[in-house]
Point group: C2
Chain length 329, copies 2
């Protein structure tokens, strides 16, 4: 019997065992044009938290009592469509479950990129790496010589930002929580690393960025955003990506340095990976080369089994992951 | 004897009578190349408040014990440079005083624009109008059909924004404090007017902007900025100009809706009028035509005499002005 995680309540804060529950599901009949896929890798991502709320956002809300969805890589086990054959690996959005039968058009056959593992399409060649790539290079228009500050630099998106920035000739200051994660960020090539648990971020950043910053890649909002405002040089560009801090708390953000937006002509620009779907070709080529060349490495935190998916998701908000959090089935 | 306002202390909050004092000054000798100008109009502007602080900003700080400066229009009374003749009207930066002798290169002869009063070069054809013009049309890239929200819409910059936006075919929602100012903003052509003293800005804006907003022209920061974040439609652009609220209080800004920057792909961009000095020709032509055509009207609050300059300046922060605050000598 196939199983899927269902949303049972709209959580406040981090979802509890009552808010999301694993239940049996019936698969759709394998009619003409349908494909049966067994999932191998599930992605859990911070944006899914906002889908658990009943608010208008850039992705529709999950419905109460219904299975949740999300990025997944699976293997075709049966196909009644000529475009896919058993054994083919596919990228699709029917995550949070172990098996799925859907029309062939819902599955994307993985493009052949030598030396790249299939789960990379959920990470450095998927939403997380693509968010890092387009956010840094397009939204923030970062270029060689820029001083780049990245929050949550040990996270999935952040660690990709650090490596892409170094590969493109930038100076990188990363922020992470605790000695182990800071050491990891340094190992990715960051020039300076801030431990945000060791003191006020604004103080640490001012000490690390004596010349200020040209680019801020925001994954968390809050104190980090305020510190970046304080350290910004003229014409600094902020790629506004995550703001993970605000997802669960509902707390307002207090900014002491927002006035510097005017004086320093700072540009803050929000963006979503899916806006760049039309440019995936260029991304696969450039990012694929950086992965193949060893300039961008994948660090994964893997949890095993569909039963662990909720814990894996919750771990995103408690700092349990270094790099991309994945569930292996 | 010539006189000038001197900064005596770095004020906290609104400057007191002890912080700035009117004192006699000696004029420079009228050597070759020098020009003697009698000021006719002085500009007082919110940005001057930050020049009274000892912090790095986009304009240098005023020095303790020294005369302050600012935009002024004056009449040449004596000239030892062939470029200027007695009777010429000039725009220059030696404000906060009644007379000045400086090199001819410090004075800009007013370009001939028919039907425009000389003090317009301190207002709709100067810093305030230019800030409105480039902020709305360039920074926020506002275009016909956009829904534009303007804070401090009864102020100098705000009232120009309202009129330019209407002249260019936009829908305008203005915010102002109190019934009189709201009525004034309506008389400028605004489609909807919010009285920010009558209730929470976010509530009023959500009611006035049922379809949301495409553009926010920010003159105040704080609650207005937060309301604009709450009402922003996808790809909204914010021109970040003033943040007058923060100038005196030193209070941090609390934002409940900053997360919407990501979901709505909002672009916030700070800017300074002086960045656009290279495009004054285009501005004089387009804005001059709107003034001559009666689409952009000047509303002035005028105080008389050099002695009133500090009161005029303080009035900017207490809501004493409608439109451009000027001192007439």
């Amino acid at each position: 019997m196939a199983r899927a995680w269902h949303l049972m309540n709209r959580p406040t804060g981090i979802p509890t065992n009552d808010d999301a529950v694993l239940k049996d599901i019936a698969l759709a009949p394998l009619d003409d044009g349908m494909v049966h896929v067994r999932n191998r890798w599930l992605s859990v991502d911070p944006y899914m938290r906002s889908r658990m709320n009943d608010v208008k956002s850039y992705v529709p809300s999950f419905q109460i009592g219904e299975p949740m969805t999300g990025g997944a890589v699976g293997e075709v086990v049966e196909s009644r469509d000529p475009s896919l054959q058993p054994g083919d690996m596919v990228l699709h959005m029917a995550g949070w479950r172990d098996e799925v039968v859907e029309p062939a058009g819902h599955f994307n056959k993985l493009p052949p990129i030598p030396g790249v593992e299939p789960q990379a399409f959920l990470a450095n060649l998927g939403l997380t790496g693509g968010t890092a790539y387009f956010g840094l290079l397009d939204v923030a228009a970062a270029k060689a010589g820029d001083i780049v500050f990245v929050s949550a630099a040990a996270g999935a998106v952040g660690s990709a930002v650090v490596q892409i920035a170094k590969a493109k000739g930038m100076t990188v200051i990363g922020s992470a929580g605790g000695a182990d994660k800071c050491e990891f960020v340094r190992s990715l090539g960051a020039d300076e690393v801030i431990d945000y648990k060791a003191g006020p971020v604004v103080k640490s950043l001012m000490a690390a960025a004596t010349k200020g910053i040209d680019v801020y890649f925001d994954n968390v909002g809050g104190d980090h955003l305020d510190a970046a405002l304080a350290a910004a040089r003229q014409n600094a560009r902020f790629a506004m990506c995550g703001m993970i801090e605000g997802y669960n708390t509902g707390e307002p953000t207090t900014l002491r340095y927002i006035m510097r937006v005017v004086a320093m002509r700072i540009r803050m620009q929000g963006f979503i990976y899916t806006d760049y779907m039309g440019r995936l070709g260029e991304f696969y080529q450039d990012m694929g080369a950086m992965i193949a060349g060893g300039q961008v490495k994948e660090r994964e935190t893997v949890m095993d089994g569909l039963d662990s998916a909720l814990d894996a998701f919750r771990g995103l908000f408690t700092g349990a992951n270094t790099g991309k959090m994945l569930v292996r089935l």
